[in-house]
Symmetry: C2
């Protein structure tokens, strides 16, 4: 991998780099209008796009229609976010002659766009984590030109979606060069290595994510690389939860494991339950009649079949829901959910073979003896994860149960290891909101300083710059005293620096 660009890629990267200053300088309201126009155009092209997507991915039209809506709403939410301007983190320190360390100059700081970004899109969300997905929305809202590397699982849909974006951005008056689509891993790597590219984002496997993160880090000038990688999303169900709402838990679990054929990074992979199998009948009943679902592509299908066999063949593992996978003549696998159970002792013994993500509709119940230190299981078995979940009984949730301190310790252990801690719900279904966190320590992500879902993702493509004693004529609008953009400004008034820290004596 040399980083040398083909003439076509050179043209694209040069155009993105040339567009960067003009795009960064667009008025926030104009950029917001352009992004909303893209969202509207996406919904306008909905039926044609969903038809291509269903053919290329095997996902249902209902699911894909929902994803189009989600993707459009996501774009509009980022449009609002960029105009509100809180993400600029504007800080103003007026000059202070009485500053504790001598005269303080006038200092004003904000976040500015990094420059051209490459986004490697995902296979399993052909809209929401693909050409116009969350990473793309965040980069465009931040003010960065974007080059999207299409996922090979839906090339035609990627082209059609990119066409929607390019046309809508041009019609909205955005600079040429703000949006490109490229195909092929080699092309993606070459662009990632180009010095004009200032950040990368990715959703996919740990293996590919690590490869790309290493490339980004090894460049002569390293750049941030935000990879959202693998996750197995441990769940803990207490005895009280089983007793009080076991049936609902069983139904929710099966729905979460089988939705989209389990091909979601937030699928609950391991559920720690009390010994005794009290949930098993409910799980079997809920799973009965789940229709078979095509997996995304033949490679994923074969990989799933292999993982499933390994897990079923591990000593101590017993099927609660057998499920299965059959292959059609195109090599596509069609799967029904498989749910197995194993004792904690056998899980501990077979853990090396069981712990890795099974991408598809399979999940593992781990039966835990009464009195087990649940908090200790988290670091024993898990690295970083996108989510961790607890199902509690009513007294436990109210904090009045006798063992509430043990449960608090479990919550603390999970928050050390995951990006999102859920109570009495399922981790699939990630709301796009300001407070969402879709991330977590390695290997859930390659960079855990941000999120890949929700508006906080916009800061991934920004960096801080301060202006010292700048005349008003040279200040960015967001930093001016008259604040023409109406963004939040955190002002540290002169004279307040004298008492620093004194009250903590």
């Amino acid at each position: 991998m040399t980083g040398t660009l083909s003439p076509e890629l050179e043209r694209i990267v040069a155009a993105a780099a040339a567009a960067a200053p003009a795009y960064a300088a667009t008025a926030p309201a104009d950029r917001a209008r352009a992004i909303v126009a893209v969202a509207d155009a996406l919904e306008g092209a909905r039926s044609a796009l969903v038809e291509i997507g269903a053919r290329e991915t095997g996902l249902t039209e209902a699911r894909l229609n929902g994803e189009v809506t989600r993707t459009a709403v996501q774009l509009r939410l980022f449009a609002d976010t960029l105009v509100a301007g809180a993400h600029l983190d504007v800080r103003i320190d007026p000059a202070d002659p009485d500053f504790a360390l001598g005269v303080r100059p006038d200092l004003r700081r904000l976040l500015i766009p990094l420059g051209p970004v490459i986004n490697f899109s995902a296979s399993n969300f052909p809209f929401a984590f693909s050409v116009l997905g969350g990473d793309s929305a965040a980069a465009l809202a931040a003010g960065c030109p974007l080059i999207v590397k299409a996922h090979s699982g839906h090339p035609e849909l990627s082209d059609a979606t990119a066409r929607v974006a390019i046309d809508a951005l041009a019609a909205a008056g955005m600079p040429e060069g703000v949006f490109y689509l490229i195909h092929g891993r080699e092309a993606g790597v070459a662009v990632l290595q180009d010095p004009r590219i200032k950040a990368g984002s990715f959703t996919g496997s740990i293996g590919v994510g690590r490869l790309l993160a290493d490339i980004a880090a090894a460049r002569p000038a390293p750049i941030p690389f935000f990879g959202e990688l693998g996750s197995v999303n441990p769940v803990f169900v207490t005895a009280a939860a089983v007793a009080e709402h076991g049936e609902a838990i069983a139904a929710g679990y099966v729905a979460s494991v089988s939705g989209s054929a389990g091909q979601l990074c937030t699928k609950p992979g391991f559920v720690f339950v009390p010994e005794g199998g009290a949930l098993e009948a409910g799980i079997a009943a809920a799973a009965a009649g789940t229709p078979e679902h095509r997996l995304l592509d033949p490679r994923i299908s074969r990989s799933y079949e292999e993982r499933r066999s390994t897990i079923l063949g591990t000593p101590g593992v017993r099927a609660v829901v057998e499920g299965g996978i059959r292959f059609d003549e195109q090599g596509h696998g069609w799967a029904t959910p498989t749910i197995v159970t194993v004792s904690l002792a056998d899980f501990r013994a077979g853990h090396a073979g069981l712990i890795h993500e099974a991408f598809g509709p399979l999940s593992i119940l781990v039966e835990v003896p009464e009195g087990t230190d649940l908090a200790a299981l988290v670091p024993e078995f898990f690295e970083g994860n996108l989510s961790g979940t607890l199902h509690l009984g009513a007294a436990e949730a109210a904090g009045t149960a006798e063992h509430v301190d043990e449960l608090r310790a479990l919550v603390a252990a999970l928050s050390q290891q995951v990006g999102r801690v859920l109570f009495d719900g399922w981790s699939t279904g990630v709301a796009v909101t300001p407070a969402q966190q879709h991330g977590g320590p390695w290997p859930a992500t390659s960079n855990d300083s941000s999120t890949s879902v929700g508006t906080a993702a916009i800061t991934r493509f920004l960096r801080p710059v301060a202006y010292q004693n700048a005349p008003a004529a040279f200040l960015p609008e967001a930093l001016r005293d008259d604040n023409p953009l109406g963004v939040p400004q955190t002002i540290s008034p002169a004279g307040e620096s004298q008492g620093w820290g004194g009250r903590w004596r």
Copy 2:
């Protein structure tokens, strides 16, 4: 480098890891009190510490006393910052049944401490960027146990400072294991590679910084590494500025280049001035009689002597202030400032040999023909830098000069390349304030998402976690509705999601 720890290092890293949950859980006011107690203890030990520092580094007692004050104020400022709680970026999305994408769960997000941090301290600021410097203050304030790798240039001072910190933290009731000092690069690398360490920080050379950044990125579980590396800090002086206040510019320039013998990462390395040498007499007059100053150590002294000879020997380079360096019997170099001038054409021709940082009291004037496109010089000659500076005339600053657009283009070019853009001042002297930005694109830093001076640095040692539908009994205090800590909470009320983006049509 295997990452295997000696028994002593194993004890230290294990203790830091064991202390992490307890330290993260300390009440903010208690942590603030402990940090202020450290600041007070540092000032209490001032005279003994300054005596050791002066002997080990050759820096003057006046400078070191100022640095102790700065370091103590910095600690107290971080104490205030951590209690104020804005750095937690608390976001609360109450549950919303009418959410645009279906029922929105209750989501609450904040930033939590990363865990144990290793900080590699600097040679040139034995207090402010060393054992209790800005990186250390930020990590301790964030709630992360800290292991400091001492700089080999002031080992005795490092030990004495660490003793002050350890005693004060213990007396303030902080958990054991929150603070350690280690010596030796091998030990530092081994700790950086340990999986229990969650972030690294560094101030020093590009070469060492790159080595450490690569180690952090290559770990089985990569971690963020915040290196503040090299910078040459370009300055542009317009003809109007020379005409209106040339004498003050000359005096300020010489003071900025010669202070601390030029051993500052913010020293102005290149000053672009109008052709004609109008500043030269003023510079020579200001430099006359500058006393010689010992450089930090023999290695830096030899390296400076070599850089100085290379620069003086480059075709077209002429000394404005000759200066010099002599060596004492211990091998320490004693330098007086050297300021040279070169035409833009000769600079362009000899640029490969001239452009790298000369760590010491040397700076280069570049004489620019009238009509030169100044903005174009920035990307032609410079990579990322900590700062860039403009000196303007009054009409230019007011924005009424005819060529104001050219100056705006220069400001835009600088802000693409630097962390701080200054007007009519000098980049040495970095105020410790909320709006300060001490960073910049590679190679100014290895990670340009944050700052190494000012309170914004605290976010480097934090990561986000969200809680979904958490019962109040399990929420961190900062996320609770009754907000017992009184931290800023950004609330996205239910019902407001319906209109997203709609007004941008």
